[in-house]
Symmetry: C2
Subunit: 508 residues, 2 copies
């Protein structure tokens, strides 16, 4: 038995390949453990050592500098996750597909899954046991129909697999936007308003995956966002609020895995979205939740019917888990605020909080409206007084002061927060009135310019829908740091500016 064991052992070698989220390992075509081509038939391998197990996708090499015959090369994510030193001997065997994949196949063929089956899938997802293809299989297999029971089981399983937070307060509020609208950084205005009022609002946000900025990326311009659960509790206890990165708290690791496949495929299925958002909010311990669904021609939700179906799903799951959930639809026809990209968005947020005269009015108004809804959850506040209270807190500077407290509690930002040193203007091709702005196009353009990795890359909008423009007048300015990004963005903008300009103004 021991001899048998040794025969499949290979020594770990660290391979300097960043394979994203997927575990990838490399073995030699002349591997001592088992012939590479035979492994390939199984397509995945299992590394084990003292009960620790890692599943990985296999690449084969003829080059000893990547993996010699007695070695197994671990790409960076696999090396990090397995957590063993180079040269450690590990047992390598062909991996069976995770058992829960049988349920995924059943789902693809139209069967309803039990809570136990869904739980097993989520466990395997959270522990990186699925390949990218297998993750896609689960997502798409569940895209055509998900029963109410499946949705509840999925939400519960996803909420239970990671960190769970609890709070001493009877009312813990939170807000969430389903995303897709550039510049829409309302959380960073809403949190200080609500926190200044005295309601706890422990906000965890995401980083961008395919968009030019997530709220966590933008907040990072102002403060540290890689904050753990214990520290988060201390911050909320002293400031009533925070705006931190959810990934660091590990609230719903299975969801993080699912999203990393959903985004590149541009998949947005209703039930998956509801389970994703609600699982994180349940794990985060919020009791009262406001969901923002922007509706517009290039938003994630393009019509009222789709918005209503989504609202009902959020309400249903909220009710079953005993959380107060309110869903509002908002204008998603164009970006909110003037900036797209972390630094530019952070500027917008601070201008609104600072009541600066040129602060973007749409960001201010939308944030006040959202804050008003959340403040109404305070039993001590008179019904209908939410909006006025929110405006008081913003206009008086109380919200700005609260934001400073939160920033101080989270700690200083360590990013380069300068605006991109290179820029170009995109100009109106004709006289007229801006009739439409393509959110997807601007998101992609800001991303091409370097956001969110370059905090100071992005887009500053000069014109919004309804604005009159003259031919040659700048519509927006694109910022980047390096020439390649600048060039790519310039040719992308030249191909399609994302702006439609019509013949007449709204007022005519």
């Amino acid at each position: 038995m021991l001899a048998d064991h040794n025969r499949h052992q290979l020594r770990i070698r660290r391979v300097p390949l960043d394979t994203g989220r997927e575990n990838v390992v490399v073995i030699s075509r002349r591997s001592k453990a088992l012939r590479a081509e035979i492994f390939r038939g199984f397509s995945r391998v299992e590394l084990s050592l003292n009960g620790k197990v890692l599943l990985a996708t296999l690449l084969i090499t003829d080059d000893d500098t990547l993996a010699a015959a007695d070695e197994i090369g671990l790409s960076e994510p696999a090396f990090r996750r397995f957590g063993e030193a180079a040269d450690t001997a590990v047992t390598v065997t062909p991996a069976s597909a995770p058992e829960s994949l049988e349920a995924v196949r059943a789902k693809i063929h139209g069967r309803t899954l039990t809570a136990a089956e869904i739980g097993a899938i989520i466990q395997d997802l959270a522990h990186y046991r699925y390949s990218d293809m297998e993750i896609a299989a689960f997502l798409i297999g569940s895209a055509s129909f998900v029963t109410s029971d499946e949705l509840l089981a999925l939400t519960r399983a996803m909420a239970e697999v990671g960190t769970r937070l609890t709070w001493p307060d009877p009312v813990v509020v939170d807000k969430h936007c389903i995303g897709g609208i550039p510049g829409n950084r309302t959380s960073m205005v809403v949190v200080p308003i609500v926190a200044a009022h005295g309601l706890p609002i422990p906000k965890t946000s995401s980083r961008a995956i395919t968009s030019p900025a997530g709220t966590a990326d933008t907040m990072e311009v102002l403060a540290r966002v890689n904050v753990g659960a214990d520290e988060m509790k201390a911050i909320v206890s002293s400031c009533n609020g925070c705006v931190i990165w959810g990934g660091h708290v590990n609230l719903s690791p299975a969801d993080d895995v699912l999203i990393s496949v959903e985004r590149p495929l541009s998949l947005d299925t209703r039930e998956q979205m509801v389970a994703s958002i609600m699982s994180k909010k349940i794990a985060a311990g919020s009791t009262h939740l406001l969901i923002d669904i922007p509706v517009g021609p290039t938003a994630k939700v393009t019509g009222a019917l789709e918005a209503m179906r989504l609202r009902k799903l959020f309400e249903f799951v909220g009710d079953r888990f005993g959380r107060a959930v309110e869903v509002i639809t908002t204008d998603g026809s164009q970006p909110i605020g003037n900036g797209i990209g972390p630094v530019l968005e952070a500027n917008d947020v601070m201008a609104v909080l600072g009541n600066e005269p040129d602060a973007p009015r749409d960001l201010r108004e939308k944030s006040l409206r959202l804050a008003a809804h959340l403040l109404e959850y305070d039993p001590k506040l008179r019904g209908g007084a939410g909006y006025q209270r929110a405006r008081e807190l913003l206009d008086s500077g109380a919200a700005l002061k609260q934001m400073q407290r939160i920033i101080d509690a989270q700690g200083p930002s360590t990013c380069n927060t300068e605006l991109g040193s290179r820029s170009f203007d995109v100009k109106a091709a004709q006289d007229g009135v801006v009739s439409a702005i393509d959110c997807l196009r601007l998101n992609r353009l800001a991303r091409t310019a370097g956001a969110p990795l370059d905090k100071g890359a992005g887009i500053r909008l000069f014109k919004k829908i309804g604005d009159r423009v003259e031919q040659g007048e700048p519509l927006y300015r694109v910022y980047s740091f390096d020439q390649p990004e600048h060039d790519l963005a310039a040719s992308a903008a030249a191909a399609d500016s994302g702006y439609a300009i019509g013949g007449k103004s709204a007022g005519e």
Copy 2:
């Protein structure tokens, strides 16, 4: 413009990584073309040179020996497909997802696709423009429903994207089994019988992807199977038949891509299977086609209802494309013949053709039955005379002689055709009667032992369903070459032999 162009140029470096079918490239985290992390947001890159374009999935490295800042590392398949020498400068830009992916997303969300949309998807698949995740998205998105029009469009698009063969004869027959049954090498008996009769039967077969042998793998024990289209025509014109590898003829390249993702996911959807098989047969120019659907508890089709639905689909597509299609269901409860794995299966085939006394009766009878159906397509043969004619040709040695002609025409095998040097027996745990044999389990076991890569690895069955066994009596023998395969197979067989033994024989 030229300056802009040069900025995104990197020099090709060949990276000794075998990434299977997927195009994978490696760039440095300090790449001169564009920052790696920014590329990652797009997840796929496009290489272009003089109008030639390659889409590839991106890995990032910190190691200059894989890709320096001014280089792009091409893994083996990408290097081969792009076909440019190392050090050639290529333009590298973030890749947009193939446009046809929009149709895949529409399909996932329940929309019916047009023929043009399906055609675009198939073109992109055949040209390796889809990532594995995107291929999975298409397969699973089409798993829940496919309309008749979609099925026809899919079949047509798949048939048209590769090589198309034409034959001078009015009747060109072919047979195809949907697969899943170990040892089921009827084609290698049927082709020489039918060819000896004088009907053209240009048979292209597949290689194993996850099974221990495809017909092409087994035929390769006896003759060369990597035969191109022109050579194939010459062979069929002189011998009436052939048994070659379809992949070399490139009959349905899109299907080859789809299958490479279907198999690891163990996806078998009805419409996909019909489009896959029918597109290859249409491209191969056959006019009369016999489809074999084995039915059994561990076969691909487990019940009569499912078999009937599949039959109707084959008939429907055949009718619309003007091909005579006949579908028969056969016993899929256990392996056919005694051998599993290329050499052992080839032995069975030659024993049947040689009328040897210990030739497996089930392989002989099934082959005769299939050949009988095909011979009935000969207008000159009296109706109902097919079986008798098939038996004459087999018993007289005419089929064996025809097989020798075909082998001579295809050319000699270059494989090691010895049986595995290591073996162990799996024995009955109790007295009784074999009541069931798990085809999936035996397939996996033969694969673990080294088949099809080791032609001589595999399983020789001593007992079939209904056979009486005594405790300790060998059920089957497992052959392999190297100790690691031997050990793995032995522990897999010890965990589950795949045999069920009941208390009473069928005769009692």
